[in-house]
């Protein structure tokens, strides 16, 4: 009897056609460029902010004082520089305002997207879709100004209501009544800024639900709402989360609306109806104009922190997406 030798696996070579090679080159270059850009941004931020982190360490993130010793002449060595930079409250503020915004924006977007895709009369469907996509492309400054106009009346009424009814809960209590400048109202404005883009993405995702699956729900005696709940929403979940992340990125980084609305106060505050707050992005905008060299380094460090927060949020989100995506 002959024994069969176990063969060594053969090497498989791939020969790309000319067109394939060229296309491959182009897309690889594109991908590398965006990676390179990201790397350059990160290394610029790290390089310019190194001094700040060396001087203040972890206190830069947790501390609550921002003092620029600006009266000292440049090169004046007669006294030490007493500047202290830290952005704890601004980080918290960024997260608080963005969270409030998303709490409003996500249900609104899902509802809006479902309405357009499944309930709107066919005659206005196209118009709605076009308007929505257009709204998603409007610069945030314009939306911010509009939102401020609207919400300094509406939002203030809601805020007053919340404070009246739920003021006994710590986060709804206030020290001075100036609701127009509260994180709550700022969150409402951010929500209006975020809603178009998240709705647009959610609608797109929902519209991709296989017709077959929806038909099956109907064929089982289900209602439209039944089909939406058991097929459309699970099918679209990961896409909607991805859309929400785009929106959240926008809310975290939003500068102008917050800059115009909130009094930047460097104390930790969780009272969302109180007129204190601020976020990292708006703080950078506020201080940048007349900053000393050292302060600029601190501002860039703040930018780096925002960058890292955004990265972390995105990583958490993609993790959620992966865990909730049903296996086909």
């Amino acid at each position: 009897m002959t024994t069969v030798e176990t063969p060594t696996p053969r090497e498989m070579t791939v020969i790309y056609s000319r067109a394939d090679r060229i296309f491959r080159g182009i897309v690889t270059a594109g991908a590398l460029t965006s990676l390179l850009l990201l790397g350059l941004i990160a290394s610029f931020l790290i390089f310019r902010s190194a001094g700040t982190f060396r001087e203040f360490g972890i206190n830069f993130i947790t501390g609550t004082e921002w003092f620029s010793d600006g009266f000292r002449e440049v090169g004046d060595e007669s006294r030490a520089d007493n500047s202290v930079f830290s952005i704890g409250p601004m980080i918290v503020g960024s997260l608080v305002v963005a969270t409030i915004a998303m709490l409003f924006a996500i249900p609104l977007s899902i509802g809006g997207a479902l309405y357009i895709e499944f309930y709107a009369p066919r005659s206005i469907y196209r118009i709605l879709v076009a308007m929505l996509d257009l709204a998603a492309a409007i610069p945030s400054l314009i939306f911010g100004l509009w939102g401020i106009e609207i919400f300094t009346s509406f939002g203030v009424r809601w805020a007053t209501f919340l404070n009246d009814r739920l003021g006994f809960i710590p986060i709804f209590s206030v020290e001075f009544e100036n609701f127009g400048r509260s994180p709550f109202v700022a969150g409402c404005v951010l929500a209006s800024l975020v809603v178009p883009i998240t709705t647009s993405v959610a609608r797109e995702v929902y519209s991709r639900t296989p017709r077959d699956l929806i038909d099956t729900c109907y064929a089982l005696g289900g209602s439209k709402w039944g089909a939406i709940r058991s097929v459309v929403m699970p099918y679209g979940r990961s896409g909607v989360i991805a859309g929400a992340m785009l929106g959240l990125g926008r809310a975290l980084g939003e500068t102008v609306a917050i800059y115009l609305m909130l009094n930047l106060v460097f104390t930790y505050s969780y009272e969302i109806l109180d007129s204190t707050g601020g976020n990292v992005a708006s703080m950078i905008a506020l201080k940048f104009g007349e900053a000393t060299d050292k302060e600029i380094s601190a501002l860039i460090a703040s930018g780096l922190v925002l960058f890292v927060i955004t990265l972390i949020v995105n990583m958490i989100a993609s993790n959620i997406v992966q865990r909730t995506t049903p296996r086909a």
């Binding site: 066919r122 038909d215 005696g221 209602s223 099918y235 296996r327």
Partner: protein, 282 residues
């Protein structure tokens, strides 16, 4: 939206329904019956004057070349047709004597009684096997408390129980294509339909799974009425009691003839039927 112009076309006359002769014309007909139904997609007249009877507890095969309106017809039978924008219909469809297009009828209730299995196996991707079977009960808000029994019963009737009884909590998508299709059949059975519509249920499956599903269909016919669209003549002859042959001459599809499967395959009245079942065209 029902465009009930009760027009009679010549095809109504040519397609005098042989099933009526078989069954005799009694007014208390049990089963599903169509009377001169037409279908439109916008201006496009897709189906003209089809009158057919599907007696209780029988299997009827719908055959005919591509584009002759079989899917359109079958979707008229459980009011799925109206989901297509600009779709219209005329005529009437009677389930045990009452018109399912009557304004007082709730389409969702009709679809509960007239279930449907689609061409492509399509278990709900986010649900387990068990959840898939019970999906209809949840969707239609039916009150049932013996869920475990329902799952076992329906999977058994669909011929899938033995293969999946140890992994009811696995995702429906983890099954093979043929198993998935049987799962879809089980899912349809869970809401206890009186009629089950199947539009080319085996066209995406291998011969083994196909035979398995044909056995399932025959067993189902002991309790319910099955209407199956198929391009496979052997399948039609194996599985059905009656056959209906549709055709189009470029215009709307119409019914050529309908009769017992044996007669349709051995000695049809219309020469076009003979040509078609022998594979001379289509």
């Amino acid at each position: 939206m029902t465009q009930r112009t009760m027009t009679m076309t010549t095809s109504d006359l040519s397609a005098t329904n042989k099933l009526e002769d078989v069954q005799g014309d009694n007014s208390s007909f049990r089963g599903l019956e169509t009377r001169a139904v037409h279908a439109w997609f916008g201006k496009h007249h897709a189906l003209a004057g089809v009158s057919l009877r599907f007696p209780e507890r029988t299997v009827t095969g719908l055959i005919g070349p591509s584009g002759c309106g079989k899917s359109t017809f079958i979707r008229l039978l459980n009011r799925m047709h109206e989901f297509i924008p600009s779709a219209a219909m005329a005529g009437s469809v009677l389930l045990n004597g009452s018109d399912i297009y009557d304004p007082s009828e709730d389409p969702a209730m009709i679809r509960l009684k007239v279930g449907m299995v689609f061409q492509k196996p399509n278990p709900f991707p986010a649900m387990t096997i068990r959840e898939n079977v019970l999906a209809g009960i949840k969707l239609a808000h039916l009150k049932r408390d013996n869920h475990d029994d329902i799952v076992e019963q329906c999977l058994t009737r669909a011929g899938l129980w033995k293969e999946v009884k140890d992994r009811l909590d696995a995702s429906g998508g983890s099954l093979s294509g043929g198993q998935q299709q049987r799962l879809c059949i089980a899912r349809s059975l869970a809401v206890e339909p009186q009629v089950l519509l199947m539009d080319e249920p085996c066209s995406a499956l291998d011969p083994g799974s196909t035979l398995r599903i044909e056995e399932t269909i025959k067993e189902l016919a002991e309790k319910i009425t099955v209407i199956i669209v198929t391009h496979n003549m052997q399948q039609a002859s194996r599985v059905s009691d009656y056959c209906a042959f549709f055709l189009t001459d470029g215009g709307p599809g119409y019914l050529v003839e309908a009769d017992s499967t044996r007669k349709m395959f051995t000695n049809p009245s219309d020469p076009r039927t003979a040509d078609y079942v022998q594979g001379k065209f289509g």
